[in-house]
């Protein structure tokens, strides 16, 4: 049973460019959350998708947007990249139940130069 898969694993972009990261949730999971983890920090919540809609959003600017598809997979888009956007981007999936633990993928390492 495949867990959460993310692509690509690494990415290098230039300031001002746009990037799209992809995530396939664990089988049986319907909710996808995205987190940003800077070096030496804990993951910071970006947003959560359920039934193809953004259900909750953290304190991130509108440059960060997302999408969930009918098969529950998800994309994270970041426009007008800044140096400070360099981080590990983690996707986590869960079942709808509130106390269902999040299962994380291994992330996409984004470097902005």
């Amino acid at each position: 049973d495949a867990g959460v898969t993310q692509s690509p694993t690494h990415l290098i972009k230039t300031r001002g460019q746009q990037v799209t990261l992809r995530c396939s949730p664990k089988s049986g999971h319907d909710t996808v959350s995205w987190y940003q983890q800077a070096l030496g920090q804990g993951p910071q919540f970006i947003f959560q998708y359920y039934e193809e809609e953004e259900r909750q959003r953290g304190n991130f600017p509108d440059r960060f947007s997302g999408h969930q598809f009918p098969n529950y997979s998800s994309e994270l888009n970041v426009n007008a990249l800044l140096l400070g956007d360099s981080a590990l981007y983690l996707c986590a999936s869960s079942r709808t139940a509130y106390n269902s633990p999040l299962h994380f993928g291994n992330g996409t390492r984004l470097t902005v130069t």
Binding site: V4, T31, S33, Y35, G40, Q41, G42, P43, Q44, F45, Q48, R55, Q56, G58, L90, A92, S94, Y98, N99, S100, P101, L102, H103, F104, G105, N106, G107, R109
Partner: protein, 110 residues
Amino acid sequence: EDQVTQSPEALRLQEGESSSLNCSYTVSGLRGLFWYRQDPGKGPEFLFTLYSAGEEKEKERLKATLTKKESFLHITAPKPEDSATYLCAVQESGYSTLTFGKGTMLLVSP
């Protein structure tokens, strides 16, 4: 003000030397407290969920406990393979998202 504070930031132990990691939290209503393990270059791996004060969960050499203001992750007779960053996260009532602490980096030497 941070909602989740973990201490110490880093901990070095000798193999077999037991210790505890601390996670203190300030949320109005706790729905659940989660412990994760994260290896370098990998995503967090789920360990435990605790829901109410007094609850305890165990897995191999790890035991997690919860009070009304903090949680402890006790590591008994650790082995080098227990070396990792341990993350604590809280889930508030009415929300399904997690707020993480900065983690404790544990290094166990043989």
